[in-house]
């Protein structure tokens, strides 16, 4: 099968999942106790407004039709209007999504910078103090509540040492320096969350690879240990690691809510949270939908990328 056909096949496979996801998101509004109209309108709204709203949103239509209506609009980019902010949801998302992506990328990069060398080092120097330290810190990192770490970091760097700003966001377009400075603490906290898992993963993948036969062949060729580990073994270990890292990134997009809340970073997580606090259901639905779709797509891309990278994969 050619690569192109493989891609198409994967895309088709994703479709039922997307449909199920959209049904799930749509149901959020329906599952809330009480009729959706009551949710959207204030309690004292008069009959006229209620009728108008029902007509507008189509609540008088049978459920499947309502769903189709919603989906057809969503596909075209119309996710409704925010109750609170009276802006179209898609606009709000368009503003918030990039900010979350910056944060997620920043966190990912920081986490990789720490976990990669640590994991590789721990694998190479197996059963030495380096290894044990790495494993212990990985475990500690896993157990650390992110928001607590955030608060502690804020305390240390923001309040006590006053090196970094504690909250807020500056757009990169406006002031790149300011952007970076504001990005550091939240991204670092996010990264800390992931370092534990990634160090472990890198370590175990490298260990597995280092035990393989070809490493012995390379040694018998007289290649230096540094090259063997850093180039010949690493490339093998990279393939599964990269997949996992990309998948984590996808999951990360959804997991930024807490950090965003603490550091007042106005991303999608914050948006959804605010939506929940204020019962702004169009916003909630829009946000969840976008994130889930993004997740599915990133998974798809990772899948394809993996097949493309590993020369051994034969596309049947």
């Amino acid at each position: 099968m050619s690569f192109r056909r493989f891609i198409i096949r994967r895309l088709l496979y994703v479709l039922p999942t997307m449909i199920l996801v959209s049904i799930g998101v749509f149901s959020i509004l329906q599952l809330i106790p009480g009729s959706p109209v009551d949710v959207l309108l204030p309690v004292d709204a008069d009959q006229e407004t209620r009728q108008a709203t029902i007509k507008e949103f189509g609540f008088d239509l049978p459920l499947p039709l309502q769903y189709l209506r919603w989906v057809s609009r969503a596909v075209r980019g119309d996710l409704g209007h925010s109750i609170l902010l009276t802006k179209p949801v898609s606009t709000i998302i368009a503003e918030a999504l990039p900010r979350t992506i910056y944060l997620a990328l920043g966190g990912m990069i920081i986490s990789l910078i720490i976990s990669f060398p640590l994991g590789i080092f721990a694998a190479v120097k197996r059963k030495t103090w380096v290894d044990y330290t790495a494993q212990v810190s990985a475990l500690a990192g896993l157990s650390l509540p992110a928001f607590w770490a955030a608060l502690m970091l804020m305390l240390l760097f923001g309040l006590k040492l006053k090196w970094l700003p504690v909250v807020g966001y500056v757009a990169p377009g406006e002031n790149f320096g300011g952007f970076l400075v504001h990005l550091i603490l939240p991204a670092f906290t996010l990264g800390l969350e992931m370092v534990g898992v990634q160090t472990r993963m890198t370590r175990s993948t490298m260990l597995e690879e280092l035990n393989k036969d070809y490493v012995q062949t390379h040694r018998s060729q007289g290649l230096s240990e540094g090259r063997i580990v850093g180039m010949y073994t690493l490339k093998n270990a990279m393939i599964p690691t990269l997949t996992v890292v990309s998948l984590r990134f996808a999951a990360l997009l959804g997991g930024t809510a807490v950090i965003e809340s603490i550091f007042a970073w106005p991303g999608i997580g914050q948006m959804i949270l605010n939506g929940i606090q204020s019962k702004d259901y169009p916003v909630i639905q829009g946000g969840v939908l976008i994130l889930s779709v993004a997740f599915i797509f990133i998974n798809l891309i990772v899948d394809i990328l993996y097949k493309w990278l590993d020369p051994r994969i034969v596309l049947e």
Binding site: D213, T217, Q221, G222, R227, N236, P311
Partner: protein
């Protein structure tokens, strides 16, 4: 076979593995000498220490769990006195090794070319183009068709026999004098086996190299080598010319080995296996390790470890029950 200069000298080599389960003596008191132009076959069942011993020539045994004692002289130089950097100069350039499983012994995510030229560029300091040229030439010499295209291919695109040839070409690429072949044909089809063995023999002859061939099959080794060393439970039990050992094996184990292995072209109703099982290397029987399985064992066999004695000129046996004969 006209022998040249002494290239490999192994004196009293012992390799111990310190494991959580105990101390494993993989190799005990092995003595060998190999000259250029000579081929030595090392035979024994799995776990007898032949691979560990061969790896210790190039110091490829992982050093935290293993400890090596004894002397290994390669071209007159003490291998175990070398620094890591010096060791790297030796590996591939003075001695090279090919391994049993060609699929897993080649790096799956690098092209054949890049794997071959890695060593070439390291030892011979050639440019990329020169190294590639050299690789192509070598691939041709080991009998691979369209060698230039192969450089860009990945190991999984080649058949088992071809991969083994690639391994051989890689091993030869920096002109080593000693080639160690650890069960090079075991994972291959029988028809390919013969081809590879012929290739090995020709290569050694043409280049005046020395070779150690390891196998569990006595027939393979008898066919391809001038000298044979039979190992059991980490020790040498018989050593001599392949003709001697093959025609008249003297050690009970070697005799059993010859009788138990199927000979191609020879029909038989029953195979004649050696009684009992290979000992657990963590718990080797006292005295002669073979004595529980030996039908000639005597009282002394369970208490004293037999030493290698020259029973006939050039034919050494480590057995209490075998006495020296007149020539």
């Amino acid at each position: 076979m006209s022998a040249g200069r002494e290239y490999l000298v192994i004196k009293d080599l012992s390799v111990k593995f310190y494991l959580r389960a105990g101390v494993l003596s993989a190799v005990s008191n092995v003595n060998l000498t190999l000259k250029t132009g000579q081929t030595l076959g090392v035979v024994g069942e799995s776990g007898c220490g032949k691979s560990v011993m061969s790896r210790s020539i190039m110091r490829l045994n992982p050093s935290p769990p293993s400890k090596t004692s004894g002397l290994v002289l390669l071209d007159g130089e003490d291998v175990y006195a070398k620094s890591a950097k010096e060791m790297r100069k030796i590996r591939g350039a003075k001695a090279a090794m090919i391994f049993q499983e060609p699929m897993t012994s080649l790096n799956p995510v690098f092209t054949i070319g890049s794997q071959m030229t890695a060593g070439i560029r390291e030892h011979l300091k050639l440019s990329k183009e020169q190294a590639n040229e050299r690789a192509v030439g070598l691939l041709g010499k080991v009998g691979i068709p369209s060698p230039a295209e192969r450089l860009k291919q990945y190991p999984h695109e080649l058949s088992g026999g071809m991969r083994q040839r690639v391994m051989l070409a890689t091993a030869l690429s920096c002109n080593p004098t000693l080639l160690i072949a650890d069960e090079p044909t075991t994972a291959l089809d029988v028809t390919i086996q013969a081809q590879i063995l012929d290739l090995l023999r020709d290569t050694i002859q043409t280049r005046g190299m020395a070779m150690i061939l390891i196998s569990h099959n006595l027939y393979v080794v008898a066919d391809a080598c001038d000298q044979i060393c039979v190992m059991y439970a980490g020790r040498q039990v018989e050593l001599g010319t392949s003709e001697d050992i093959f025609q008249h094996p003297l050690h009970p184990y070697a005799i059993g080995l010859k009788n138990s292995q199927p000979k191609i072209g020879h029909k038989t109703e029953f195979l004649d296996p050696i009684q009992g099982m290979v000992p657990n290397m963590l718990n080797v029987p006292p005295g002669c390790a073979f004595h529980p399985r030996c039908d000639q064992a005597g009282a002394i066999c369970s208490t004293e470890i037999p030493k290698l004695e020259e029973i006939r000129p050039g034919h050494w046996v480590a057995c209490h029950q075998v006495r020296p004969q007149a020539a």
